[in-house]
Amino acid sequence: MKQFKRDERPVIAVTLNGRRVSAPAEPRMLLSDFIRQALGATGTHVGCEHGVCGCCTVLLDGTAVRSCLTLAAQADGRELTTVESLADQDGTLNALQNAFRNNHALQCGFCTPGILMSFTDYLRRNPKPTEQEVVDVLSGHICRCTGYAGIVAAVLEATGTAAPKTGGKS
């Protein structure tokens, strides 16, 4: 059994996007703050901090979870995947990111990292979703810019269930 007092700062070790990293964290530290503040990976955004907006969604051992509803201590020894992992080293976007760009699926971009991570998990389980299934997964996110239609179109384009729009850069 591992047991820590409230003012202790045990070292939490995780694999972040394939790299082994570690940092101290007190028991009450949220995984979202651990990723941003202790590990310096600020691509993961924090919106509501009570599990409603979905901005902080990351993959924990490959499944999409709210990092604001997870303690850093609960991620100890596990694998984290964040939005920084999606594009290539040289900045080339992956298919899902490209589809977001082509379909005006983001404006301010605050909610985008969370949405990308949700669909990174979901599309692995269900590579050819229906529009309704995409909407269902998207219900776990709040976007105040796009009205969601562009996001749905982007996910469908990325999965090849809708024709790609012309004119987008790739």
Binding site: M1, K2, Q3, F4, K5, R6, D7, E26, P27, R28, L30, D33, E49, H50, G51, G54, T57, L60, T63, A64, V65, R66, C68, L69, T70, L71, A73, Q74, D76, S118, D121, Y122, D136, V137, S139, G140
Partner: protein
């Protein structure tokens, strides 16, 4: 906001977890998925002195069928149960209700037992458990207690769990071959229901569960041929409903009058 400071313990066995509860009493809280608890901690609605993490206790990760019931361990997530290959056949009501529980992202972490232990009056899993007349398994140093769902959930966020007990599993009676139906009204898909209605039918009998109308789910049995519009009106007045920021009690009664007959007819089809 951030949670108030607390001690943290990661138990590796059930005995370790119940020892901590015996020692710390009401100051300690169990954390599994944390999808309700951590939101409440972040909002500082709760300030426990210690969190006991049970998600890495191997014996709590099982889904197993035993004596006509499916026992779901306390570390099993809602999405894992949803992906259980026998779910549709053996627990059709749960298969109908689970997609309404939170969102894909919260079901990845939220547990089946955690939802029951949290005991929100409009929550889908406690409603399903009550409708099926399932059981809750509790463990403490004193031993194991098994409570019927209706004995367990006492009122809004209130259960019969004693401070030294851990909910280790819930048991859903297998109802293969029965027809199930589930509907709810919520402000946004995945939010807590304002009113949820569940039904399972065997032959000419239908069992109806209603959530969101009282502190705990209400379960009634009806026969085919009943005047359901009339029966739902009577039930709506009996349960009365409560007022909150989402709906008046009058709206809740009206939702039951509309959804009740519909869900019953879907189960009796």
């Amino acid at each position: 906001m951030k949670p108030h400071p607390f001690d943290y313990a990661r138990a590796e066995t059930i005995d370790e977890a119940i020892d901590l509860l015996a020692e710390h009493g009401e100051a300690a809280r169990i954390i599994a998925g944390g999808q309700s608890l951590l939101a409440m901690l972040n909002l500082r609605l709760l300030e426990p002195g210690m969190l006991v993490d049970i998600t890495r206790i191997p014996e709590l990760t099982n889904i197993r069928e035993h004596n006509g019931k499916v026992e779901v361990g306390a570390a099993v997530t809602q999405n894992r149960l949803l992906a259980w290959p026998d779910l549709k056949e053996k627990l059709p009501l749960l298969a109908a209700a689970l997609p309404f529980v939170g969102h894909f992202q919260t079901r990845n972490k939220g547990t089946v037992c955690g939802s029951v232990a949290h005991a929100d009056p409009s929550s889908e899993i406690p409603l399903t458990l009550a409708t099926l007349e399932g059981e809750v398994v509790l463990r403490s140093r004193k031993g194991t207690r098994v409570l019927a769902a209706r004995e367990f959930q006492r009122g809004m966020l209130m259960t019969a769990r004693r401070p030294d007990e851990v909910v280790t599993a819930v048991r859903f009676p297998v109802h293969a071959g029965q027809r199930a139906a589930f509907r709810e009204v919520a402000r946004r898909h995945g939010d807590f229901a304002i009113v949820g209605v569940a039904a399972v039918a065997a032959g000419d009998k239908v069992k109806l569960g209603v959530g969101g109308m009282a502190g705990q789910p209400a379960v009634r049995e009806f026969s085919r041929g009943t005047d359901f519009a009339d029966a739902m009106n009577t039930l709506a007045w009996e349960l009365e409903g409560y007022e909150d920021m989402h709906a008046s009690s009058r709206m809740r009664r009206d939702l039951l009058r509309r959804m009740g007959p519909l869900v019953i007819s879907e189960a009796l089809r």
